[in-house]
Symmetry: T
Subunit: 148 residues, 12 copies
């Protein structure tokens, strides 16, 4: 049984209302429900959405106590929050970066993630399903490690 | 009658004391008073100054409920806060970016705004009057839209 | 009472007919009329539109004799006419740069102005109203200077 | 029921023997078996590994006749094969790009994919499981499209 | 029957005398005669050579009244005259850019045209015949459009 | 009488079906027929379309035996196949590069051709007619050379 | 007697546990104790560690009231927090930037500090001793200033 | 006896009044008088100052008829007028570029001249004396050529 | 006794006929004969020239079975074939890159090799003798390794 | 007891006379005296100032025999002397780089040190005290190493 | 009467023998003789040619004692010797940079001088006469200064 | 019989002791002995190692008198000594550049040589054997020239 820290970066609280042609029309609440269904009863998911970089970092620090891994959609912080990157590197929890949209088909500044170099991997472009795939990737990773 | 969300980014609380040769000697309080006089009785201005990127984003999100438009001086966030940019793009309120100084006569990093691409337009270089011009630009825009 | 030199760069004579989704549907003649109404009886506006860089420079030189300030929409010269820039720097008249469109949402080459570094400030993105705001900014500036 | 075109780019025939610390120790044959198990009886997977850019393009062209979507690990072609990109764009089949390693933790040239802009999305960093996640992403996408 | 505006940029009046190994030994007069022969009796060609950017722009503006399309060899303006570019974009006449020399085998600054993005297409490298090919391309284009 | 080697790069076999708003709706077969009609009975055209860079190079090598010149649409190879460039430079046959679309109005990577520096010239933007213009340019060139 | 504002940026609360090969194994608490011992009884040190950029800025603003100078390890904010830079520039307190690691031997993005241009100087690479050296540098500076 | 074409680019008519700390306080008239004195009775100097790029080019073209060489201060055209460069290259007259100020101690854009590659050499930084040195350099060059 | 895989990239089949001032006048056949003479009876050389990137990769893969090392002149693939690079890295055979010409005195794109980072070393500039030197370097390397 | 090699790069012999607003008014002799006082009787300092890159390198080489560490102010060599860098890397003595001025507030070329990547750390901006801090940093480092 | 320090950088001792098409066929000895003739009896010229950067710097330092100004041809040091630049800036003697060839028509690296920003001005392109013009420029400058 | 000038740049006197994993464990003395053995009795080798750029240049100049060619390992001067480059170009002796390590697998700055463009060719990556191969390459070159 694994406990997963699920983080959503800035503006993701507006999901379902914000530019649905890019981000889809499902709300964050609904997505989290889908994630919990997918993770199933044996796994726990503790989530935080925040528009505050510091709050996300604080949460990652506390996750050292209770989490087995992290799934994070850093939103716009993807492109400049070296602080978030350092937080993930510091706690040494296996982390998966996810994005709803295919960041490579959008404005040039969105193509680069300063966070992905400290993650296991990245999933992008599949709308809310990117989260499910990210959760699955993390659980498989944890399982493989456990079986080592 | 319009309601305007007025945002001041980091360090603007120090206006009037900070580098007056660049930013002028009028305090933020005084500027807001000038703005309210200019906007007049028929328009409402709700203001926030914060040094916290997250607080500015939260405020923009709530503004969806009550504001007709935004005037923002993002301060140093102008140059890197893609999160602020996404917040403005997400709430879809018409937004005007203002700067006290002519950012193009200063250090190279100040020439670029990551926020202006999601705004209607930009006013810079006229000291505290940049705010009045920005407010005027927004009110005219709203009026034109209303008369459509 | 102030006398303002108003300059329109290349292709602005086509305003109202050229790409109205970008530049609006008001003709230059109409805009100048709006400007004169806005400036009012106490201020004089002398205008020149030209597709010739040299003609604009000549006009700026003569303005030393009679103008208190300049409002200029340099059109495409914005991006490469260092000669226009030098002319403004040489006559030492306070100058405001205006643009109809938000140049920061367009092609990359339009984001940069070689002229704005020698201006007081810049107004862009508000269609023909950019001119009115620019005139207002200049008149306020002149007034502030006069009051010292 | 869906038919999936599965493409493996250059050198992937050596999987399991080549730099196992980066690419894992599972052979391509084994991975394809895993994929087929995962896809299940209701879906068909037709695969091609080739070191020849042209062969991969020819295969993509034929896939227009029989495939519902593409999962591709372009190997080193990721970084320069604009011809492969054009092939995917031309056949208009929904495509998912996968990578075994987290390309963003490796040499700089590997960070950029010229192919991902014409794909739905990308999965990287999860070893052979990247394929399973990519297949899943495509099947879900096809299912969502079918349900409209 | 079509009327074509034919423009020659700076220094092209010297053709036949200037660096013949690059530009050939035929004079502009001779080339225009060739063009008129090629265009034939059913089409009219009105030409302007000028070393003045503004004169070329003025001519393009008037061409709105009488021309069906433009063939232009912008000479050195190719590489920096955004004003010429805007003129072509503004009048919305189909335009073909031609060059006598293969600009891609010369100095680096000559490889880029700021004008070609607002043209239908470009022909370069075939000496005075580039003009004939450009005229032909425009006439065919106009014909295709007419036949819808 | 001239013999022309006509080469079509990757994905051009899909012409008429692939993104017709960019590439037009005429098939390659039809275009070749048009070319042969245009070249007329006195000239021979031997054509190859291939998605394999090596096959195009092999064909160019053999062309040394029988061709007077080359017309090539390198497709996506335009932007990176230095091998194709070297092949053309090596056989020393006069070569014309053609493109259906105006490559300068598309993605940035398409603006540059690594092949055009070893060609006589380039024609782009006129749909299938670019081929006819390219053939014409080559025949004229050969004729001029013959007449010395 | 001097009062020093001591600031620690994001993730520095994890010192002693985070990547000890890079940052050493001494905790922040221990380092602060060392600093206080070094500063001695005659000088006061008021410290703040925060993962929130805004909290650091607020603290700097209040320091205007009571501090003689600042020693700051901005952590990852070093590389992008122009807001922190502006805060330091605005309060005009002499500031020393310190880093535990030699930032020039690490990833490229860590080589650049946007904050150091508004500081007196920088000390980096000496582990926790960088703090002591930074404090010493500031105290010496204040002493020199006092002695004129 | 030599005849020299002396050209002054944009804004140089304002010499003596414009930014004297950079350009000195001597008027263009006075400088030309100095030049004529220096050149002496045996040499003729024909001068043109213009703010119009085209006028300078026209003048250079006519100079083919009567001049032995050119001395030019291109002013701001130095940095972008490829048309002026082509004019000089086309007439093949030996040309010396002069600047009043040391362009290398000023804004970055002023460091580069697009014109100097087609000149014999360049003299900059010596105020109005740069002209005398440039004239001298040209006369010596002509003399050397004559003596072959 | 060593077995060496000798690879020649695209267009090298034309050696002796192609641009002899750059590549020399000796044919590939002759060079291979020289190499075999140099390697002597105790060493075996198995060679492949191909214009097909995939064929070279396939050959490298098979070489794992029988070769002790590789000498490769990648021709134009030097500059972009990351697939070839990965093939060499994958088979882990010691590899020497050779070039006939001094690639650093030619066009800028030829200065960079994407393949050399996975080789032992590089020899360039000595015409056909570059091959002999490369063979010698590899044999010496193998000998040193054998002697540990 | 430690022996320290103290190196001063080019032009530092002029200290106290050269641009005192940047470098202070203390002579090198005086600074060395301060350093010796600071190091105290138990440590030895052997110093060299030279304007010759080679002399500094020779000195570093000899220091292998007698020094425990190096403190170096490379002066202008900071920005380009890869030879000095290699010397430091080769002798493997712990090295501290110091600068009198805050190099990050000066011309862009001074922001980068090619030497610091082979040093323990860097101290800059504190005038002659940078030396004392550097000596202290080195002594502490040596002490820590000794105590293991 | 003025005393001038005349410096020649590396390889200039070979003048007259080295690449005469670029540097002319006059020896350094002969040039110095010409300079002395030009300077005349009232002025003294003390010269040094050295291939050692340090020797040139040492000489500049001593020149503080006896020279009124410097004329320097830094040779290849022009492009990278920041130490030479600092030496000139430190001694504060008015300096003129000269070059035999027009550095702007040669390899790209030769276009930039790191030394000219600390000089009064630059003369390039006139062969050995560049020295005479440089001497003249310096003498005139000294004369103007003397006359205030 | 040939006489070869053999030059070793800065820090190469430390060979055998400096970073042996990169540069090998053989001393310079030993390498020179190997070279002399390889060159044999019929050829003479005169060697110089120096950490002084000027000394290497002086030596190259004298080599004009007695050498037939140069083999040089410029060490760190490879990357910035344009003066060394000019020396080699000036004496016109055929020159071979050698490096012990494969410079392309090391830090980015080491990938570029400013010297190789004036050499016949380059050998890198084979440890001390790079010297032998370089000597061989030069002797073969001289022989070929002699047989011309």
């Amino acid at each position: 049984m694994a406990t997963i820290a699920l983080l959503h970066g800035p503006n993701l609280n507006l999901l379902g209302t914000r530019e649905p042609t890019i981000y889809g029309s499902m709300t964050l609440e609904k997505i989290e429900q889908k994630i919990r269904e997918h993770a199933g009863a044996t796994h726990e998911v503790r989530a935080l959405q925040s528009n505050h970089e510091g709050a996300l970092i604080d949460f990652i620090h506390t996750a050292r106590e209770w989490a087995d891994g992290i799934v994070i959609n850093p939103g716009a912080f993807t492109h400049y929050s070296y602080a978030l990157r350092d937080a993930i590197a510091a706690v040494k929890l296996p982390t998966v970066e996810v994005h709803l949209s295919n960041i490579h088909t959008r404005e040039a500044f969105r193509h680069t993630s300063v966070i992905v170099p400290v993650c296991i991997g990245q999933v992008c472009g599949f709308g809310w399903r990117s989260y499910l795939l990210g959760i699955q990737a993390l659980l498989d990773y944890l399982n493989d490690q456990a079986q080592g």
